[in-house]
Amino acid sequence: MAVEQPRTRDTTGPGDETRIHNIGYRTYDGPRLGRAYARRSLYSQSLRGAYGLGRSAKSKVLPLLLLVVMCAPAAIMVAVAVATKAKDLPTDYTQYAIFLQAVIGLYVASQAPQAVSRDLRFRTVPLYFSRPIETADYVRAKYAALTSALFILTATPLLVLYVGALLAKLDFADQTKGFAQGLVSVALLSLLFAGIGLVVSAVTPRRGFGIAAVIAVLTISYGAVSTLQAIAYDQSSTGAIPWLGLFSPITLIDGVQTAFLGASSSYPGGYGPSGAEGVVHLAVVLGIIAGCYGLLMRRYRKAGL
């Protein structure tokens, strides 16, 4: 029905030349790829958006700058290692993200609100839910996109270190094992930070509040935990140090990689968790990730339309 109308109008039109200008409405009979495709599209759009791609030039500056800042120390370490023919890299793969946690925190704070607050603030969310995707698809796509963006941010410098280590002809097996452990660690870190960042910023449609809240959650918890750990160390109650580590995201990651990924702990005095304490750390990390996902689902069930 619809295809024919424009045609009839064309033939009854004033002349042949109008057909060039007015092709009329064309119906779409091609494939409709459905829900999974829509979810993938949202994922790739959000991931690109996390590095400012497909957005204004201004929004590309910060994420790309932070990526450079993340990689610069790695490049310098590699250069030094190659030049001095060192026997080992100046840092462990697992330690790298802990050293640069402030940069990671800044990235989460800037991009998590961008990923979710924007849709809430401009009320684009109802448009998404008027399409084949469901709440879970939206949450998963956004969560996966920010996690991937964080993984790119944290794994790229590790890759630089690894390539550099191989160029410096360091021990291959040793380096590969360290690199793999580092990747697992930053993958877990990406999931954890993305979850916390998204939950905090999904609460508010205001981007500024989101940024401030994410920074506050990450730095205040770390500040409090490291202060308490230092006090515990001073008072020689070293048994408390691993347990205190449960209360901030970055110390949790530190605890997990100390217990399971052969990292040396950054806790005061190196009193990282081991055995049962490590299991608790891992359980808490996984619990927070699951909890963040659950909270996001709850949030969007209400925010839909």
Binding site: M1, A2, V3, Q5, P6, R9, G24, Y25, R26, T27, Y28, G30, P31, R32, L33, G34, R35, Y37, A38, S41, L42, Q45, G54, R55, S56, S59, R118, D119, F122, R123, T124, P126, L127, Y128, F129, S130, R131, P132, I133, E134, G304, L305
Partner: protein, 346 residues
């Protein structure tokens, strides 16, 4: 296209929809109701986004409770509120929305260019949406609802915030969505007069109940009300009364529109057709009076409610929807053939 049966939606404190049974066929259908009448709630249920408390509804022959995803793939939705991010261009935004509807990348770009042209956005489509006028934003919102070539599109208050010219353009565009694009439309408004000009069929709801469902020709033929106002002369010190008596002599009843602004100076009468206008003109001229104005009264929801509650006082709350014809509205497309209001307790 759409069929609901005793559809109810209750929130803890309010009943948004109350046993609503309505059948909507292809064409342009207006959904009229005051703010809070349940229009948006109905759209949410029809999109399969909000479960009904009781009753059932079908869109394009698909049950909203179980086939929400399939419905949303073939239906477009233009929300009432702003929904556009300001920092991207219309093209980028609509392409993204097309892909969210399941269109492959190449098709999404092609359909976006087509659709934006059809809604009347040209060079400006490459600029960020933040700089657009309200009218242009409404067009982008419409484009994102049409980009995946739906069978049916829900437009929630599309003329909101537009100036009179913009309003007319939007209404013209809505008409074209059906006549040129072959897409059926369900458009909501709180202004009945606006929809009368655009729609084939109008459904009026109030307080979640169906007040009236009929083709617009019924509306205009039965309920067009003329308001006339005349001058007084020395010969006829009360011109209004003179006209009233003269019209009564010719068998046309008038009333004074008490309770309406300008009561006492305005005469209201029901226009049966073109001849009523001529009759009024002749009567006024014969009396030697000046005609200050003669205009079509805008129908208001209250008027429909008054007229309709009389009509329906005998009907019980039982639904008149025939299960057998539900879902194949195509064969009941004729004007004036639609079922009259059903389903609200008198």
């Amino acid at each position: 296209m759409i069929a609901t049966e005793s559809l109810s939606k209750r929130f803890p404190k309010v009943t948004a929809l109350d046993r609503l049974s309505v059948d909507v066929g292809p064409g342009v259908t207006g959904l009229v109701g005051a703010n809070g009448a349940g229009k948006s709630t109905l759209i949410k249920i029809l999109l399969g986004l909000s479960p009904a408390t009781e009753g059932r509804a079908e869109v394009l022959g698909l049950d909203v409770a179980t086939k929400g995803g399939a419905i949303r793939e073939r239906v477009g939705y233009m929300p009432e509120h702003d929904c556009l991010p300001p920092d991207v261009s219309a093209t980028e935004f609509v392409v993204h929305m097309a892909r969210m509807s399941g269109l492959p990348p190449a098709a999404a770009r092609e359909r976006t260019a087509d659709t934006l042209r059809h809604v009347g956005l040209y060079e400006e489509r490459y600029r960020p949406i933040g700089g657009y006028s309200t009218g242009m934003k409404q067009r982008v919102k419409l484009a994102q609802a049409l980009v995946h070539d739906p069978k049916l599109v829900f437009l929630d208050e599309p003329t909101n915030g537009l100036d009179p010219v913009g309003r007319d353009e939007m209404l013209g565009l809505i008409r074209r969505i059906h006549t040129d694009f072959g897409i059926s439309v369900l458009v909501t408004s709180h202004l009945l007069g606006e929809l009368e000009r655009t729609c084939d069929h109008v459904v009026v709801i109030d307080g979640g109940k169906l007040l009236r469902s009929s083709s617009t020709t019924d509306f205009t033929q039965i309920t067009t009300t003329l308001a006339i106002e005349v001058t007084d002369t020395d010969e006829h010190p009360d011109g209004t009364r003179a006209v009233r008596e003269a019209l009564r002599a010719r068998g046309v009843d008038t009333h004074d529109g008490s309770g309406l602004p300008g009561a006492g100076h305005v005469l209201l009468l029901t226009a049966e057709g073109e001849e009523t206008y001529d009759l009024v003109r002749d009567v006024v001229t014969d009396l030697g009076l000046g005609l200050v104005r003669m205009e079509q009264r805008r129908h208001r929801i209250a008027e429909v409610f008054r007229g309709d509650s009389d009509e329906n006082s005998g009907t019980s709350g039982e639904s008149g929807t025939d299960g057998g014809t539900r879902g194949n509205g195509a064969d009941r497309d004729g004007d004036g053939e639609r079922k009259e209001a059903v389903g609200h307790g008198g």
